[in-house]
Amino acid sequence: MTSLLPLLSTAQVTPGEVEAPLGPQVAFWVLAALTVVGAMLAVTRRNLIGAVMSLVASFFGLAGLYLLLSAHFLAAIQVLVYAGGIMVLFVFVVMVLNQEEAEPWALRHVFGLALGVAAAVYLAVRLGQLLWAAGPGGGELASRLRIREGAPPQGYGTVAAIGDYFFTEFLFPFEAVSILLVIAVVGAVVLARTTVAKATTVYELPPGEVDLRQPQHDARDEVLGVLGHHAQAANRPGGGH
């Protein structure tokens, strides 16, 4: 294992430490590979649907990693909210817009690419420095970060335990997030709705076509008409339901 990432040399097993069981080890490397490959495909794919699906695979890998870290509730939420909710929203938007992408990486934006790669290298170097300084087993850094060995306590990562935090210590952020979600939903509806009237002026119709989006009469008339019909039916003797 150590030969894969020589900088992160803390995988040496000290005598007092238990060697990791093989199953979780394999699971970690498989899930990590799935996550990274999925993420890279998501960023580099030309096809938007392909990119979204790669990101879904990446998020499933992350959910598996959360399971390995005994965060069971978060793993479920990751699959439900990310893979099941947010990415479906992305798929919807990709399909609604239905746009071919001309060129995924703009050549004149070599500057942006260089900046991104520089950021990646910077992160890797800083992380390597940190881990190098920490030394095998975490050393002094581990004690400063209050890192504890061994299995987590009973009930760690369950819904009940996380719920305890949300209704005591994290009550205010919890409520704030609920308000934020309401604002986001209303905001998304407002943003997506107000442009409907303008959209008819952007699209060009072939000559002779009737623009079905342009209402031929006010929609309110229709509603009022239906209401009026019902009112008449109710007013007729014996005509009510």
């Binding site: 990274v36 965060a71 690419l113 991104g116």
Partner: protein
């Protein structure tokens, strides 16, 4: 489940994911890919939070990660609505085409 020696790998994985997301935001021209890359970066931060929560046997990190997921969902909803709105007006999802504020 894994001993302490693996936490570094988890942190490295989080850094790699964040870097990939950063490259996507900076280098890609498509607004949807940029939004997806932002999601990726949020996930990388989440992974780091969960790793430290597990390392300290403290569930506060998981609680914060949960809140991050909620904020990410809100961000995705509003961001996609903006992309759809821009597309309706300008027939494009390329970030390069949004130069209105320049002039």
């Amino acid at each position: 489940m894994l001993p302490l020696s693996y936490f570094n790998y988890y942190l490295a994985l989080g850094a790699v994911l964040f870097a990939i997301g950063a490259v996507g935001v900076i280098a890609r021209r498509n607004a949807l890919i940029a939004l997806m890359s932002v999601e990726l970066m949020l996930n990388a931060a989440n992974l780091t939070l969960v790793v430290f929560a597990r390392a300290q046997h403290d569930m506060r990190g998981q609680a914060v990660a949960f809140l991050t997921i909620a904020v990410a969902a809100a961000e995705a909803a509003v961001g996609l609505a903006i992309v759809v709105g821009v597309f309706r007006n300008r027939r494009s999802t390329q970030l390069d085409d949004l130069t209105m504020m320049k002039h």
